[in-house]
């Protein structure tokens, strides 16, 4: 039970750290890494709740969920990196344009 709290609290901290990174950084690569830190927190939390079984056994369901979650996170990260690279190629910037170019002149 003691171990559970150590892991669960660490997981929450990682999640919050990732969230803070996501909103505070402008650089796209950092944002994507921050999302992965968040994902790491979520996965650690799932692993820690697998240990909650009072009989002392380990619950396999959260571990199966973590495996699926990792696959989902990897594919989304790959896609986000692809888009970030495209944006870099087109504009030479590593940031999202916050001035909202959608109101600009039409081409």
């Amino acid at each position: 039970m003691h171990g559970f709290y150590i892991y669960a609290v660490t997981a929450m901290l990682l999640f919050c750290l990732g969230l803070f990174g996501l909103v505070s950084h402008k650089n796209l690569l950092r944002k994507i890494v921050a999302l992965n830190v968040m994902a790491g927190g979520v996965f650690l939390f799932f692993i820690s709740i697998a240990n909650l079984d009072p009989s002392g056994g380990v619950d396999p369901v959260p571990q199966a969920m973590v495996l699926t979650g990792i696959v989902v996170a990897i594919s989304l990260t790959a896609f986000a990196l692809c888009l970030a690279r495209r944006i870099h190629e087109k504009t030479g910037q590593n940031e999202l344009d916050t001035s909202c170019s959608i109101e600009g002149e039409d081409r």
Partner: protein, 486 residues
Amino acid sequence: MESLLILVPLAAAMGSFLAPGRGIASWGFLTSLVIPALAAGTAMDVYQNGARRVSLGGWAEPLGIHLHMDGLSVIFLLMTALGGALVSIYSAFFFDRESARHFWPLWLLMWAALNSLFMISDIFNAYVVLELVTICAAALAVLSGKTESLQAGLRYLLVAMAGSLAFLMGVGFLYAETGMLDMFMQSGELQGGPVSAAAFGLMTTGLIMKSALLPFHFWLPPAPGEAPAPVSALLSALVVKGSFFLLLRLWVGVFEPAGITYHGAYFLGCLGVLAVLWGSYQALIQPRLKLIIAYSSVAQVGYLFLMFPLLCTVPEAPWAEKAWAGGPYQAISHGLAKAALFLAAGNLILSTGTDRIHYMKNIASRLPMTTFTLGLAGISLMGLPPSGGFVAKWMFMQAILESGQWWWAVAPVLGGLLTAGYVFRILGHAFLLAEKEVRMLPVPFVLEKIPLILALCSILIGFRAEEVIFLLQEHMLWTLELEGTP
């Protein structure tokens, strides 16, 4: 039959990915013929025999994966089938070969994911399917490859990913509390303590990020605003509804019985009202037609959230039935009307080359069908009788007045007025005579008719209110008890 609703678009997506030849659109045609028939069959079945569940692979609860069909799911399935089929036919004539090669696999995969989202019964699979919808939607949003659309797509992807992770964390809390993943079995197990509250907060935050409620609305207008017309229609009409559906399921089915929704419901209601007012105001001042329509989505999504304070604050409230029918009704009529508007806007861009409304003069005489479509869809958005939008707002107003929470009436009343403002702003320009002749290209026959059919549907569903309300009130299945347990 239910699993075919997922299997057919999935197979067609694979087919169109592997055989991207000249006949790629036929995969889409095929799906848009089969899915409405299947959805109608499922709906008839639920209408006559009541809600039911199908176990996939023959595994029993609580470990097995189940499809869950009740009134709410078949209504969303039908809306997706109708809207999706019509947008598919439009797309078959809209895209050139290069874009079609990318569009069809993504859209058909998204269709499969949406259909399974509406039938899913366990929350972890709901997460996986939501991610599938997100990744397809983001890929569709960047289809044109322009810098603006890339940025809009990435912004959407980042918001949606953060939202999904918050949702997944909530799934973890729910699992820790109940030891189960099936949301229809969790409802009785929640104790309403801090763990339930954490799950509630995380899942709600994640899902409202994905359904573009006010503070998280910033990704919504640019994404459809920059995408090709059929993609904008799909993003605004269907994708946003997916996460709203899940939110509704979880609130009413899982969290409300645990008694932890009271404050959250008022909070969501306030955000909804703000979204209606802010979105409508933004729509009034936008210079481009597609952005007007996109901001109007922010407002129309806001209406949906009025459901929560009416449904989830007072247990067993007598007005809850009306609020309960109003929300899904608003979702369907907005979905169809918004798809019609975006496709009509696509026609205008095809014809005039721009969607700035200052250049849209005299389209009423040149493109009468498209102008008529804009008007009809506008009627449904404003909520004038006898449209579907009217039924939804009428239900909301009745529930609001009966509940005595009169302050929510600000949204339907002021929102309707502002909606009328931006719809007439579009139509007003359409009837102005142009000082100098603007060159307009003719729009192909099918492309003109499809938005019109969609707009007509959004009006006509106002006449079928009785069946929809019957499905929503009589054929719901919220809780499930394991066999052998009391």
